[in-house]
């Protein structure tokens, strides 16, 4: 018989079939990525992948995905930050337009950071139940990272026995107001003329086309 036909018809008794092969495909692929010889660990799977076109297609796809994506993506992790906060200054400045004010409180309380892999993509500063500063890196917004930071801050405040969490922002900052209210915060009070040059804020500061002058306080019952 011709070798091609013979090899098509020849069956390998070690072949474990599709279910068993697919059940360990992730482990098989990781062995390849780790430079191991998976066929030695799983000879029946190797026999199956040689004979089953669709499972081999899945194997090649999974290997490709794991090779190209594992190195780039880690899970989102929120954790306390114990390093030098100067490293996070750019993120703090996303939420604070006054360098003078920022210098006055940057070292206060606890800072949580959101990481994806090695990259810090957001932070939240919490002191005595008040969110002093919070920001998510531009390119990572809209993916629930801010909400994750709030959820961790809530857990932290509750753990400290607090019954209320507060935060203040500019009345002009519509996006931030929407965000906090979506997270359950409610408006509490308005502080007029909080953002003035006398306090280190630039003149003619605007947000969403609205002059930044007044501050709104919000709170969340824990």
């Amino acid at each position: 018989m011709q070798p091609d036909l013979d090899s098509f018809l020849r069956t390998d008794p070690r072949d474990v079939g599709c279910e068993q092969a697919l059940a360990v495909l992730h482990t098989y692929v990781d062995l390849v990525l780790d430079g191991e010889r998976p066929e030695e660990h799983f000879p029946g799977v190797a026999a199956h992948l040689r004979a089953c076109g669709p499972c081999n297609e899945d194997y090649e796809g999974l290997l490709e995905a794991a090779r190209t994506m594992v190195a780039q993506d880690g899970p989102l992790v929120v954790e306390p930050f114990d390093g030098d906060r100067a490293q996070l200054r750019a993120l703090f400045e996303e939420a604070e337009d006054s360098a003078e004010q920022l210098d006055g409180y940057i070292s206060a309380g606890t800072v949580l950071v959101a990481r994806v892999g090695e990259e810090i993509v957001g932070h939240l500063q919490l002191a005595a139940g008040e969110i002093l500063n919070m920001a998510v890196a531009d390119h990572c917004r809209g993916h629930g990272i801010g909400r994750a930071l709030i959820e961790h801050a809530v857990a932290l405040a509750r753990g400290d026995g607090r019954a209320l969490m507060t935060v203040a922002t500019a009345t002009a900052d519509i996006g931030t107001l929407r965000f906090y209210q979506r997270c359950g915060f409610r408006l509490r009070s308005i502080e007029r003329d909080a953002f003035t040059p006398r306090r280190g804020y630039p003149e003619d500061l605007t947000a969403d086309g609205i002059p930044v002058r007044d501050r709104v306080w919000l709170d969340l019952e824990l």
Partner: protein
């Protein structure tokens, strides 16, 4: 379990702070794998553009649901992401199998053609010269030695060129069941060729 995998599992656990964000992030990753995998296979399945995007979204969403339902089964035998990507790669296969019938109805009624078998099993040009000697014996073995189910599966895959996953969708069965039918058919056909002196 490696630390990244442990973080994923902790972040996705029911009630974990930030679970929604972890789910959103995982969905993004699954969607990227689905798109990339569909692009890799698109020429063979004839899909592109909005159709590909639609399949990618469905595959990612279904993979996410399946994964979350089985989260407790992850024991760290591999990286979490490799385990997760497996869900979406398998979903892509299933979706393509079903999609085949929506776009390639003509294949359903295609005639069984022994002349196309050399292409389908990847036979070399050299070997094709001897092919005609064997066809008669092989066709006889298919008719006489296979069960009706094996004959149907062999006919669809080898003689009509139906992709295995498309046959899985058509017969509403599993890939393993179809593969087993083909495996048994191949073994019987080889035995028949050995018995008739065409193989050793």
């Amino acid at each position: 379990m490696d630390s990244d995998s442990a973080r994923w599992v902790a972040a996705l656990a029911p009630g974990a702070p930030g679970r929604d964000a972890a789910i959103t992030r995982l969905h993004e990753l699954l969607l990227r794998v689905a798109r990339s995998e569909l692009r890799r296979r698109r020429s063979r399945w004839g899909i592109d553009g909005p159709e590909l995007e639609d399949l990618a979204h469905h595959a990612a969403s279904d993979a996410l649901l399946a994964l979350l339902a089985k989260l407790e089964q992850f024991r760290g035998e591999s990286r979490f992401t490799t385990w997760a990507y497996r869900f979406v790669v398998l979903e892509v296969s299933m979706k393509l199998g079903r999609h085949f019938w929506r776009t390639a109805g003509a294949h359903e009624n295609a005639d069984e053609d022994w002349e196309l078998v050399p292409d389908r099993i990847g036979m070399s040009p050299h070997a094709r010269a001897e092919w005609h000697d064997l066809v008669g014996e092989l066709a006889r073995a298919v008719d006489e030695d296979l069960t009706p189910h094996q004959r149907r599966v062999f006919g669809a895959i080898v003689l009509r060129g139906t992709p295995l996953d498309a046959l899985v969708a058509e017969l509403d069965t599993t890939r393993g069941a179809i593969y087993k039918a083909m495996f048994d058919a191949r073994r019987k056909l080889r035995q028949a060729l050995v018995a008739s002196g065409y193989a050793t």
